[in-house]
């Protein structure tokens, strides 16, 4: 599903040039659950942003579902993104002004799903995440774990083929964290590919494979299954 080769990414700020990704290559197959680990600042989030087509690389190739996307313009990338990829962030990134229901509905609106269909899909996913009873609450009225469940609901409501999760449990206590991890495992078992950045060995064990990074390069891979 994903194949990247010699990917490079630089950040230039006031004469200092940071190499965030240094000729990084990796491959992820459809249906896999991959964890990415490494010390702070090694380029994990950068990698995830590029995989999610939020950012583009400076060099290298990125093939997504057999299509070379690294040279795509923003519009095309956005188009692929909204139909194929869901995001879960460490800081939930819910919109404070919208209710739980509206937050989850948003990706459907942007992909142009009809209103009747939207209602059905949102309710189904809220049910699955067990936050249906909170549908009319605002993010601030929820606990961190509940907020992250909403964020996961929002990420999967469009039935994406790929979920990118950047430290999804980083802001949660262990029991809330485990709940989220179980949700992701469930999704993976139903066929969704998942790439997850994490600092926690515990969480990483939920995955099939761990990619370890250092200074913008992969150093080792542990296959768990």
């Amino acid at each position: 599903m994903i194949k990247i080769t010699d990917l490079e990414k630089f950040y230039r700020t006031e004469e200092v040039e940071t190499i965030a990704l240094n000729k990084l290559s990796m491959e992820v197959k459809e249906g896999e659950f991959v964890a990415v680990m490494g010390p702070s600042g090694c380029g994990k989030s950068t990698l995830l942003n590029i995989l999610g087509m939020l950012d583009d690389a400076d060099a290298g190739s990125f093939v997504f579902n057999g299509i070379e996307v690294s040279k795509f313009n923003e519009r095309k990338r956005a188009d692929i993104r909204k139909h194929n990829i869901g995001f879960v962030f460490q800081s939930f990134n819910l919109i404070d002004e919208l209710t739980v229901y509206e937050n989850v509905e948003l990706p459907l609106i942007y992909t142009g799903v009809k209103a009747s269909e939207r209602k059905e899909k949102v309710e189904k996913v809220l049910d699955k995440m067990q936050i249906m009873h909170r549908r009319n609450h605002y993010p601030q009225q929820l606990s961190g774990g509940q907020q992250q469940r909403v964020a996961v609901a929002r990420a999967v409501v469009n039935n994406p083929k790929l979920i990118l999760a950047d430290e999804p449990t980083g802001n949660l206590d262990s029991s809330n964290g485990n709940e989220v991890m179980e949700l992701l495992t469930d999704l993976n078992e139903q066929g969704t590919t998942i790439i997850m950045v994490t600092h926690s060995e515990h969480d990483a064990r939920f995955s099939h494979r761990i990619i370890r990074m250092l200074d913008g390069q992969t150093v080792t891979e542990n296959i768990l299954v």
Binding site: S45, N49, G52, L54, D55, A78, R81, K82, F87, F89, S91, N93, L94, I95, D96, E97, L106, P107, Y110, T111, Q140, R154
Partner: protein
């Protein structure tokens, strides 16, 4: 303590230079324009107030009823009225008649054209125009006395002492001596009266002829009542007198079917307070200025200030979001609510103060050009008056309290715990902000709609055919010492064979408003077959139909070939209709029983007055009592510039001393609408300032909103929002506000503009699309303002904004 507030305020302002600049710039623009407008209005309203007796002085006018049921107003009084009233009514303390004339004055080898005002001796007692030298107690020693103002005295006598000097003035066809008995101080700029040479009323050459003539109305009468009587009380006391004095007139009015007024009267003598004169255009024509215009100026000024204040309030409250941490910290460190409020108010005060100082300086230097632009009388000196300063300081404090105080108080009330958790917002929701922004848009749409409607009406006035040739006819006011008829004849002799000239005629009343800025109307009433007919009376000369390009409905033009034309008249269709004869040509009008006037032709109705007035009955005569004051020349072809040059050189040879003030009729016609043109300019400038200020506020607001919503925008983009949907997200709210604003502004603009249009006999219909256009224009301007910020926000890389946690 205070010093500390201001020191910190200054530092804060300096730190946020861009915001402060937007604020100060907006306020300066608003304050300067509002100051100029308000000062002008104050000046116009101050007219004649310096007269200490002003509250008791009245200008008299007649109200007469017509068969149509309307009332006519006239301030022209007969000669004996003043003295008779003063004799019979002890309520009158002083009374003076007033009439103007002009002639030539000779002193040693100086010869100048002067304006003379004839008054009664009471004039000097009623009004506060101090006599500065000479016989200050009894300036009118005899009928040859003359009072001169200081400026004119200097012009005539130079450094000599004018008191007791004798000058010659031209009276009809001979010269008479006049002696300067007193000097009068120059009239203040805000005085309705502006006179150079004042002479006793009885010294008019024709005084003896009209002394007891009740049927010739031409003078202005002013009375000063005892403070115990009001104008209205005195008016009712006058009723029996009027019944008796005008019994004959009333009888004739009844016969003609005049509809009596509500109180049953046919003719009333009414009192117009002196203080109303300058702002009442119904009775006193001339240079008075309509209240409507002044209120309009005032409203625009206040609206502009309101817009600036709204910007200020919105920005302060908006920014409090970013400054809430500071507020919370100050409070946890022990600041009291009002101390926090003081801190924010000090900032507002400083911003306003800087703006005020800049604006005062700007206003002072802009007064002269502003005055010209809007045809107002305001003087720079008004900024040196104590009262004005008090008003400015008062207004300033009020504005800073409102615009600075409200947000300061709101911020001070913030809940500390919420603030430190980063969850507090000022004002709860954005309802206040949106209401204020909508209000700004209401003003913008309103002013744009008014601009469009006045523009349409002006355009209509300028292009509507008037029924006569305006493009090829030059009107030349007869100036200089030459006799009027002689001047016309000489011009005819010199130009008759010129290939550039089609025909020449003369007119008693100018068409439109010439460069001599004068216009007059004479209306005559006479009995015809036991009915009173009224008609505007205009003296003219041969070839009037040809020169003006009028259309003859019947009969013929005046011509030198018919000797009988000296007792012939032309009438317009309205007059013909009023006469109501089947065969109109040959009808004899019994103006003067010894010499009836015969109608020789009927011309199609043409707008001999401005389009504010309907076409009334008109009679054109060759009467020598209505000598031509204007020579009209119709030129051939389109070499207009050369034609004008030819007129100028010919006029110089005809009247060597007379200034050439010729102009084409179309210019004259347009000049009549100067007031309206100014109003239109005012609306458009007001609209521009309102739009600029609103957009400035909007811009700052949008930048602020976007900065507060970057994270949300980022998330939406990650979830697949397109650039368009983000732009839409940011601008939608504002566009809805503009839509609502347009809906509110429409009926208001419609109401006021309709009222304004009522002043024109010929008016456009207000069309609905004007309001749609005004709304769309506002929306477009606002959208451009918001749009580029929104697009910038929408194009930003979401990775950055999501991360900012």
């Amino acid at each position: 303590m205070f010093q500390n507030y201001f020191k910190i305020a200054w530092r804060n302002l300096w730190k946020h230079k861009t915001d402060s600049f937007i604020n100060v710039f907006g306020l300066c623009l608003a304050f300067t324009s509002a100051l100029l407008l308000l000062l002008s209005v104050a000046f116009e309203f101050s007219y004649d107030k310096f007269n200490t007796n002003a509250p008791n002085i009245y200008h008299t006018y007649f109200q007469t009823q017509t068969p149509g049921g309307d009332s006519r107003f006239s301030n022209a009084m007969p000669t004996p009225l003043g003295p008779v009233l003063k004799q019979n009514f002890p309520d009158i303390k002083y009374a003076t008649r007033l009439a103007n004339g002009g002639t030539w004055l000779q002193y040693k080898d100086k010869k100048i054209e002067i304006g003379i005002t004839y008054t009664d001796a009471d004039f000097f007692k009623m009004f506060s125009f101090p006599l500065t030298s000479g016989n200050t107690t009894k300036p009118f020693e005899s009928t040859t006395s003359m009072v001169v103002n200081e400026r004119s005295a200097k012009a005539v006598f130079g450094e000599e002492n004018p008191i007791g000097k004798t000058v010659q003035i031209q009276v009809d066809d001979h010269w008479e001596a006049r002696t300067v008995t007193a000097l009068i101080k120059d009239f203040p700029d805000n005085s309705t009266f502006q006179y150079d040479f004042i002479m006793p009323f009885e010294s008019q050459s024709f005084y003896k002829l009209v002394e007891n003539e009740w049927n010739s109305n031409y003078l202005d009468l002013f009375v000063q009542l005892n403070p115990s009587v009001s104008g209205a009380q005195f008016e009712s006391k006058l009723k029996p007198f009027m019944q008796q004095q005008y019994a004959e007139t009333i009888k004739n009015m009844k016969r003609d079917g005049a509809v009596p007024a509500n109180d049953g009267s046919y003719i009333k003598l009414l009192m117009q307070p002196l203080l109303d004169m300058h702002t009442n255009t119904e009775i006193a024509g001339g240079q008075s200025i309509a209240k409507f215009y002044l209120y309009m100026l005032m409203t625009i000024a206040l609206l502009i200030i309101a817009i600036a204040c709204i910007n200020f309030i919105n920005l302060s409250i908006g920014k409090s979001f970013t400054r809430s941490k500071e507020i919370g910290l100050r409070k946890t460190l022990g600041a009291m609510k009002n101390q926090v409020a003081m801190q924010f108010w000090a900032e507002a005060f400083l911003v306003c103060l800087v703006a005020l100082i800049v604006s005062l300086i700007a206003a002072y230097y802009l007064v002269p050009s502003f005055k010209q632009l809007f045809a107002l009388n305001v003087q720079q000196s008004i900024l040196k008056e104590l009262k004005v300063w008090l008003a400015i300081v008062g207004g300033f404090l009020f504005i800073t309290l409102l615009a600075g105080g409200y947000p300061a108080w709101q911020m001070a009330r913030l809940n500390v715990i919420k603030v430190l958790k980063g969850r507090a917002t000022v004002g709860g929701s954005n309802r206040l902000r949106n209401a204020l922004i909508s209000f700004q848009f209401v003003i913008s749409v309103l002013l744009i709609a008014c601009t469009l409607i006045t523009w349409q009406q002006m355009n209509y006035l300028r292009t509507r055919p008037l029924g006569y040739n305006t493009q090829q006819v030059i009107s030349i006011p007869i100036t200089g010492e030459i006799g009027k008829v002689q001047a016309l004849n000489l011009m005819r002799d010199k130009l008759n064979n010129s290939p550039m000239v089609e025909s020449i005629t003369g007119l008693y009343d100018n068409l439109g408003m010439g460069t001599d800025n004068s216009s007059r109307t004479s209306i005559r009433g006479f009995d015809y077959k036991n009915r009173e007919l009224r008609s505007t009376w205009i003296g003219t000369s041969y070839d009037v139909v040809k020169t003006l390009g009028l259309k003859l409905v019947a009969g013929r033009d005046f011509s030198p070939e018919f000797l009988t034309d000296s007792s012939a008249v032309l009438v317009n269709e309205a007059m013909a209709k009023q006469i109501g004869e089947k065969e109109i040509i040959g009808v004899k009008l019994p103006i003067d029983s010894a010499k009836p006037l015969t109608i020789i032709g009927v011309v199609q109705d043409y707008n001999y007055k401005s389009l504010k007035k309907k076409i009334e009955p008109l009679t054109l005569v060759l009467d020598y009592n209505f000598e031509p004051n204007y020579i009209l020349v119709r030129v051939k072809g389109d070499r207009l510039k050369e034609s004008m040059e030819l007129m100028k050189s010919t006029w110089a040879s005809v009247s060597p001393g007379g200034e050439f003030k010729g102009s084409f009729l179309d210019e004259n016609v347009n000049r009549q609408y100067r007031r309206e043109e100014k109003l239109m300019q005012m609306f458009s400038i007001g609209a521009s300032i309102a739009i600029v200020l609103s957009c400035l506020g909007l811009l700052a607001m949008v930048i602020l909103i976007i900065s507060q919503r970057t994270k949300e925008i980022g998330i939406r983009k990650v979830l697949g929002a397109s650039v368009l949907s983000i732009v839409n997200l940011i601008s939608k709210e504002f566009l809805i506000m503009i839509f609502i604003a347009a809906c509110i502004a429409t009926p208001i603009a419609w109401y006021f503009m309709n009222k304004w249009l009522q002043g024109f006999a010929y008016q456009i219909k207000i069309q609905w699309f004007v309001f749609v256009a005004a709304g769309l224009l506002t929306a477009l301007i606002a959208f451009v303002t918001i749009g580029w910020q929104a697009v910038k926000a929408a194009l930003a890389n979401p990775v950055m904004s999501i991360k900012s946690e």
